[in-house]
């Protein structure tokens, strides 16, 4: 085992070349990519939104359809970045040997990780926008302020990119990502307020949920979609940014160890 190189990341503009590469590949695989990100949230929205919406009516003064749509948008941004950071990064690192090819050029590991992080966030926006569009067409969006959710999708993508890339850096195979998905992504999806307010959980559970990032993503996106006032926006943005920064630095350190050995 080589020792960890824990110097701070120093990416260069080549990071944008990595971003471009991924965007060009994304454009080629647009259909499957969107179907994967788009299908499940829209099914949830239609099935639960219409179905449960009939019984629930409003939650905290917001129609349930709108409540659910805003939660699903946040969860989509989380899922897109997480799956890109885990599966796609792992594929490029191992099976495709894309990074090996790139590391024979002046592009360096820090540029790759910065580019991948930016790409995860960009893809969160690109693949969540169609859901926002469908939600709008179905009448779930209450205000033009929903446009303000778009940069939040990017921030949520940044926040989940780093930890997912760290998982990829440690993964011996794709099966390893089951741990990450089952232990982190799925519990956050169920407990962080996508389907019901966090306040309904027991106090101890609320503490845990409020440490995890998805509840803060929802706390920003939901008022923007519903057209209600934001509460403590700087706190939520700050927590998401903190995850983004720590995750990005950790991703750089551990991908270095994986690639430069």
């Amino acid at each position: 085992m080589t020792t960890l190189d824990i110097t701070l990341p120093h990416p260069r503009t080549s990071a944008f070349t990595i971003l471009l590469r991924n965007a060009l590949v994304w454009r080629k695989l647009l259909g499957p990519s969107l179907a994967f990100s788009f299908g499940e949230p829209v099914i949830y929205l239609l099935g639960l939104g219409y179905g449960l919406g009939q019984f629930i009516g409003e939650v905290n003064g917001v129609p349930y359809f709108t409540f659910l749509a805003s939660g699903l948008l946040a969860a989509s941004a989380m899922n897109v970045a997480s799956f890109e950071g885990m599966f796609s990064v792992f594929t490029r690192m191992t099976h495709q040997q894309t990074y090996d090819a790139i590391l024979a050029t002046p592009v360096q590991v820090d540029d790759i990780v910065a580019g991948e992080t930016l790409w995860c966030a960009s893809k969160s926006v690109l693949n969540t926008l169609p859901i926002l569009l469908v939600a709008t067409l179905l009448g779930a969006i209450q205000s033009w302020s929903a446009l303000g959710a778009i940069p939040v999708f990017f921030l949520v993508g940044l926040c989940f990119a780093g930890p997912a890339i760290v998982a990829a850096a440690f993964a011996p195979s794709y099966d390893f990502f089951n741990y990450y998905t089952t232990l982190l992504i799925t519990p956050m999806f169920i407990f962080s307020g996508v389907f019901y307010p966090v306040a309904t959980l027991p106090a101890a559970a609320q503490v845990i949920v409020n440490i995890l990032p998805l509840s803060h993503a929802i706390a920003l996106i939901r008022p923007l979609v519903a057209g209600t006032p934001l509460t403590e926006p700087l706190l939520h943005v700050g927590i998401l940014l903190a995850y983004a920064v720590v995750g990005y630095v950790a991703a750089t350190v551990f991908i270095r160890r994986r690639l430069i050995r």
Partner: protein
């Protein structure tokens, strides 16, 4: 031992790499002169690829010093890579891009925009006979085409130094000959080629200088013909048959050395006629006489476990 050209492309002193307890490279000294083809020969696992990775800054040195194109590793690695082309052992093109898209994207990693490399891409596709395949997807290419694309990609930045890691492994004879012809053209154009291979015929055809690496150490170096002269007797007679039948034939012959690999016995001799005279007197032995080649050197130096 080897003479150092005035402007060597690679200088290594005491180059060492350990992976945990495993010593992959154990103190290598190298002087790769500018121009021509320099070969790294050795069995699988000898440390060839690890050495290439160190030269590219993809593997930190455990000990020793390394200078490439006059720049220190790792401090100068970005400029070193900007002036180097790499043909990896396994093809690693982007599977989602076409041939020409792969080349364009790779150029961007060197900071070259598509417009700047449009002519160069046409030229490279012609050079490697891929002109009619420019819009093909990766899954439509044969192994030989992918390898040629790897070589084209390695040339996109017009490198001074080209590193090829087993460039013809797994390819059919036609493609191997095509690649050899192109590599000779690159040599003639003044490029420095660094080639790893375990094919002795490839090394003999292409390399001006080579080192034989085994178990992480250089065990000999020189030109292919020089090494053959240095290590191998002028005559090689290959005899087929059971050791118990064949080996007594050469008993008590001065200037004769026998190396047995299974049922094949390589008889290395200073003088040909005494050996042939003995063989003539022994009935039913199949033998062939040939000139010494690099494989003989390789077997002599690395084939320890096969020696009787």
């Amino acid at each position: 031992m080897s003479e150092t050209a005035p402007d060597p492309v690679i200088v290594a002193r005491g180059l060492t790499k350990h992976f945990g307890g495993r010593q992959a490279v154990r103190g290598i000294d190298l002087d790769v002169p500018r121009g021509g083809c320099f070969g790294f020969l050795g069995p699988n696992g000898a440390g060839k690829t690890t050495t290439l990775r160190m030269i590219l800054g993809q593997s930190p040195l455990t000990a020793g010093t390394l200078t490439v194109l006059g720049l220190p590793v790792p401090a100068g690695i970005r400029e070193i890579r900007a002036r180097t082309g790499v043909v990896p052992q396994a093809d690693n093109q982007d599977p989602d891009f076409t041939v020409v898209e792969n080349l364009r994207m790779y150029a961007r990693y060197f900071g070259l925009k598509p417009a700047q490399v449009a002519d160069r891409i046409e030229e490279l596709l012609g050079f490697l006979e891929l002109g009619d395949r420019k819009d093909a997807k990766m899954r439509e290419l044969s192994g030989g085409m992918k390898r040629r694309l790897s070589i084209a990609r390695a040339l996109i930045n017009d490198p001074e130094l080209i590193m090829l890691d087993e460039p013809t492994t797994g390819l059919d004879p036609q493609v191997r000959h095509l690649i050899w012809t192109r590599l000779r053209k690159l040599k003639a154009a003044g490029k420095t080629l660094l080639l790893t291979t375990h094919y002795m015929d490839e090394a003999e055809r292409l390399c001006d200088q080579l080192v034989v690496i085994d178990r992480g150490k250089i065990i000999t170096q020189g030109s292919p013909q020089g090494l053959i002269r240095e290590h191998i007797e002028p005559h090689v007679i290959e005899v087929q048959g059971e050791g118990s039948t064949v080996l007594p034939v050469f008993d008590g012959m001065p200037g004769v050395r026998v190396l047995s690999v299974g049922e094949t016995h390589y008889c290395y001799a200073q003088e040909l006629s005494p050996v042939l005279a003995r063989l003539e007197t022994t009935p039913r032995l199949q033998y062939t006489h040939r000139v010494a080649n690099l494989e003989d050197v390789f077997l002599k130096l690395t084939g320890h476990e096969l020696r009787e």
